[in-house]
């Protein structure tokens, strides 16, 4: 500051030599620099540090020692890791298509509803606004056995056998996934509806004049034109399911990720390894694996759903 007020000449001369276009570029970079610096410090630096940590045996207490790929070796030989790996993909592979299909169907029909349209849309959106932890506890209560569990009480009242839900090896993961799908539904519906509204009505009118039925219209016009929206939602929802944590942790606090690790996603395992066992190096290795999975899945999806020109 002091420099510019004391001797403005040198800087002024350089600045004056720039064309307006160049000045714009400089200003653009000045503004861009702020988020870039922020991301470098808050995001990139820790990310690269995590890569380094994954090659050490750091346990918070003692200084980190380089141990090469030992953490990754341990990971490959850890049956719990493979169980968690399968769980994570189960959340992704079952959760993403179901949630997208559901939200598309709902958005497609909701788009045609005029009666209380806003209210119904709001109803779908409310879960998205609610804290995941609070929601998880409500669902956890729904899933309890008789006499407090709402679902089991309904089953009992119509004479069906009670279900273990969260306390079952088979039903645990689907029970949690249902809540995650339900929570994300509102957001996906809104995005799909925005996508549907963005398709020009003239296409539909032309199709109807040509005598096309509902199904061909959906297949030939709506779905192809909705593709950018679909791509966005697929990637967004996949990342969400790959990083699922709140629901699982809160619905299974007594035995986090249980029973027998059948509901545990990778993120929960990382959390436990890092902040309960203090095996920071090992946790960093798991993080690197998660990062790689996220990267590959996202790139794969972008490639599969790319624009063919």
């Amino acid at each position: 500051m002091a420099d510019t007020t004391a001797d403005p000449a040198p800087k002024g001369r350089i600045w004056d030599k720039l064309t307006i276009g160049q000045k714009r570029v400089v200003w653009a970079w000045v503004f861009l620099a702020i988020p870039i610096v922020f991301f470098v410090v808050i995001r990139f630096y820790p990310t690269f540090w995590a890569f380094w940590l994954s090659l050490t045996n750091w346990d918070l207490m003692r200084p980190a020692r380089f141990i090469g790929l030992a953490n990754y070796q341990r990971l490959l030989n850890d049956p719990a890791f493979w169980q968690v790996f399968r769980n994570t993909f189960a959340y992704l592979i079952i959760g993403t298509p179901i949630s997208l299909l559901l939200s598309f169907v709902i958005a497609y029909y909701l788009d045609r509803v005029r009666f209380m349209h806003g209210f119904i849309r709001a109803l779908y959106f409310v879960p998205f606004l609610t804290t995941a932890a609070a929601m998880a506890w409500v669902w956890r209560w729904f899933y309890q056995p008789v006499p407090i569990g709402v679902l089991n009480n309904i089953l009992a009242s119509i004479g069906l056998p009670a279900q273990p839900f969260l306390r079952s090896i088979e039903q645990g993961l689907p029970s949690i996934m249902v809540t995650a799908i339900w929570a994300g539904l509102g957001f996906q519906i809104i995005i799909f509806m925005a996508g549907l509204r963005a398709i020009p009505q003239t296409y539909y009118e032309a199709a109807r004049i040509d005598g096309l039925g509902e199904w061909p219209i959906l297949r030939k016009i709506t779905l192809p034109l909705l593709k950018p929206t679909t791509v966005f939602l697929v990637v967004f929802s996949s990342i969400g399911f790959l990083r699922i944590f709140d629901q699982v942790y809160n619905m299974t606090t007594n035995d986090p990720g249980g029973p027998l690790n059948t509901t545990k996603p990778l993120v929960l395992m990382i959390y436990q390894t890092a902040f309960q066992s203090y095996a920071m190096g090992y946790a960093a290795a798991q993080t690197v694996v998660l990062f790689t999975i996220l990267l590959i899945v996202s790139l794969l999806q972008l490639w599969v759903l790319r624009e063919r020109k």
Binding site: L60, Q144, P147, A162, D255
Partner: protein, 418 residues
């Protein structure tokens, strides 16, 4: 001009600092947030400062979930408390991480510790050194709902005294609806609650076994006794049908909701159960086996001296630790927090022993055991997985116990080989 002001200010600051360090020592005390514990400690600090005007104690608290991480992280950053509260099961980690220092035997004579405190204080000893002293201890007992007892024709003043009587009382009080769903439990239990301690330190011993070798480095429950104890515990649901794991989510919730005749829980639950208005409840010692053998699991939070305390801060920290583990402090703790005194003299008073609620917990302290956990969360998980394999996968008990023993041994081996 400005510089001269600055220099003057600095000089004043330095002289102020040196002056204050001559006059008073400030030490930091850390514990986790729990309303009544914070209140009790504030009271103790006020008493201590009144008696030692040259020492100031700064009281820092953190949420329980972050507590260990904070202590460790502070140490990494080159800081840390002078006196710190820790769960007895964290000692190995805290010692290995250089977070705490051994107590000076000149200030805390071993003979005195061993004669004045309950035997479970030995869990704070590593090698020849004690690493901390407890203010209060917790033990387990059987809580029972007097109203349910009466409704089912049981004497509300004669709770079960043996395992056999426990099962009988459970059978008399359990209720199911027409479809066979449990609507009220005889005994609310589950290894995710306190029952993994009941299994480890009480049942296994009552069936003639021992959970770990004396040095705590070897798992020894993979034998006839361990299998029988496990079969008994899991049989409470599958054979005797007096309770269901997961009923009302947690045993304490079932008991508090008036939907369980009995549950096993610790002193720390007294506060929550005192809020019960719908029914009267009682406490009795954990049931003995047929031969009259009793056992119990006691645990405690101890206070230790931070590794960084030196010189006059160390002296102040020692004084403070002496005070907060004195009989006077224990009386305050019992009154405010409701936790049992760790010194015999303060605990085994006639009033305390005659107390219908504290009595059973206190009587247990003389035969209580304290498990030496190296990673409490991981070791608890072994017990949870044992339960899940038997209950959900129908794994034979003997196999399940063998697998659990193997898993837990791996945890111990990994720790001791570091």
């Amino acid at each position: 001009m400005r510089n001269r002001f600055l220099a003057g200010g600095l000089a004043a600051g330095i002289s102020f600092l040196t002056l204050s360090s001559v006059q008073a020592v400030e030490i930091e005390y850390w514990q986790y947030v729990f309303d009544s514990r914070v209140k009790a400690m504030d009271q103790l600090i006020a008493n201590f400062q009144a008696a030692n005007p040259d020492i100031t104690v700064r009281h820092q608290t953190f949420p329980y979930a972050d507590y260990q991480t904070r202590v460790v992280a502070a140490n990494v950053a080159g800081q840390g408390p002078d006196v710190v509260q820790l769960f007895y099961g964290w000692v190995d980690n805290f010692v290995a991480g250089g977070l705490i220092q051994p107590l000076d035997p000149a200030v805390f004579p071993h003979a005195e510790i061993e004669s004045d405190f309950f035997p479970i204080v030995s869990a704070m000893k590593r090698g020849d050194d004690y690493y901390g002293l407890p203010t209060a201890v917790r033990s387990l007992a059987l809580f029972y709902n007097k109203k349910i007892f009466e409704e089912n024709g049981l004497d509300p003043n004669d709770p079960p005294d043996t395992l056999e009587e426990l099962v009988a009382a459970g059978k008399a009080t359990v209720k199911r609806d027409g479809a066979g769903n449990m609507t009220s439990a005889g005994l609310a239990f589950g290894l995710s609650a306190q029952d993994h301690h009941w299994w480890r330190e009480v049942l296994i011993r009552q069936f003639g076994g021992q959970p770990y070798s004396d040095d705590g480095r070897t798992v020894t429950y993979n034998d006839e006794a361990g299998i029988e104890a496990t079969a008994f515990l899991m049989g409470l649901e599958s054979e005797e049908k007096i309770g269901e794991i997961g009923f009302m989510d947690e045993p304490q919730a079932a008991f508090r909701g008036g939907l369980a005749a009995m549950t096993i829980d610790g002193t720390f639950r007294l506060g929550a159960f005192r809020a019960i208005e719908g029914f009267e409840w009682g406490v009795t010692e954990l049931p003995a086996n047929a031969e009259g053998v009793r056992s119990n699991y006691a645990s405690y939070f101890a206070n230790a001296i931070g590794a960084r305390a030196q010189g006059e801060e160390l002296e102040a920290a020692q004084k403070f630790l002496q005070y907060i583990s004195s009989e006077e402090a224990m009386a305050v703790w019992l009154e405010v927090v409701g936790e049992l005194p760790a010194r015999r003299a303060a605990a085994l008073t006639e009033t305390n022993l005659a107390d219908p609620i504290y009595g059973p917990f206190l009587r247990a302290l003389d035969y209580s055991r304290t498990t030496i956990f190296v990673d409490e969360i991981a070791q608890r998980q072994v017990a949870l997985d044992l339960e899940a394999r038997i209950k959900l996968q129908n794994q034979p008990v003997a196999e399940a116990v063998a697998e659990a023993a193997q898993q837990e041994q791996a945890i111990l081996d990994e720790f001791y080989s570091r």
